[in-house]
Amino acid sequence: MHSFGYRANALLTFAVTILAFICAIASFSDKFSNQTPSAQIQILNINWFQKQPHGNDEVSLTLNVTADLQSLFTWNTKQVFAFVAAEYETSKNALNQVSLWDAIIPEKEHAKFWIQISNKYRFIDQGHNLRGKDFNLTLHWHVMPKTGKMFADKIVMSGYQLPNAYR
């Protein structure tokens, strides 16, 4: 406390330490929020289903995604990253996950949505196993906070199947 510099240093250090505590408590307060997200995905149409020149199968789908992710937003949420993945099993891989569509949701108001879209990213298999394949469509989301740890969760919707022959 003998000079301006000494006091300024002490104040700044203490202020930043307390700021770290505030952010930790804010991140902790997220645990008390009640989260009930819901989603539904419908496949409206299989646009085409072909075998590529390299031998891999490719599908083009039109999806209808309806979701309500508003309850995931707290005061400490910066944005929510959501994506739809098709998951299936083949003889070569125990689990294949192919991302079909994603979106960044920056605000609570945009978190309740209905979108009809053909797949944003190509659905290509490693091989030619897709004929007649049963698969799940999973909506994953990552909640990115303003301070603290990011956490992720998902809803699995099963019961989808690809046609038995190429179109």
């Binding site: 301006f4 006091r7 002490a10 804010a26 005061w75």
Partner: protein, 92 residues
């Protein structure tokens, strides 16, 4: 500042920052606005800086009593003699 003033300034700084932090968190949580919390806390830090860092007169109410110059002249500082120190080191 004097010693009492320094102690007072340090205590004031700690208490004011803690109060600013608590108020910022409570208001921010109640209004569900992270931005409000940060703004209130920043305002609190600036206020604390203005109160505790400059040399306000209230921190100087118990000034130190320096020795009177006339007293100091009665006991002059001893003069350093270079020759005698050399002899001392050879004896050791």
């Amino acid at each position: 500042m004097d010693w009492q003033g320094q102690k007072l300034a340090e205590q004031l700084m700690q208490i004011l920052l803690l109060i600013a932090a608590v108020m910022a968190f409570v208001v921010g949580y109640a209004t569900a606005s992270f931005r409000t919390m940060m703004l209130i806390y920043a305002g609190g830090v600036v206020l604390t800086t203005l109160i505790t860092i400059p040399n306000w007169p209230c921190f100087n109410r118990h000034p130190l009593k320096w020795l009177d110059p006339s007293e100091a002249e009665k006991y002059p500082k001893p003069e350093v003699v270079a020759v005698s120190s050399k002899k001392k080191s050879s004896k050791k």
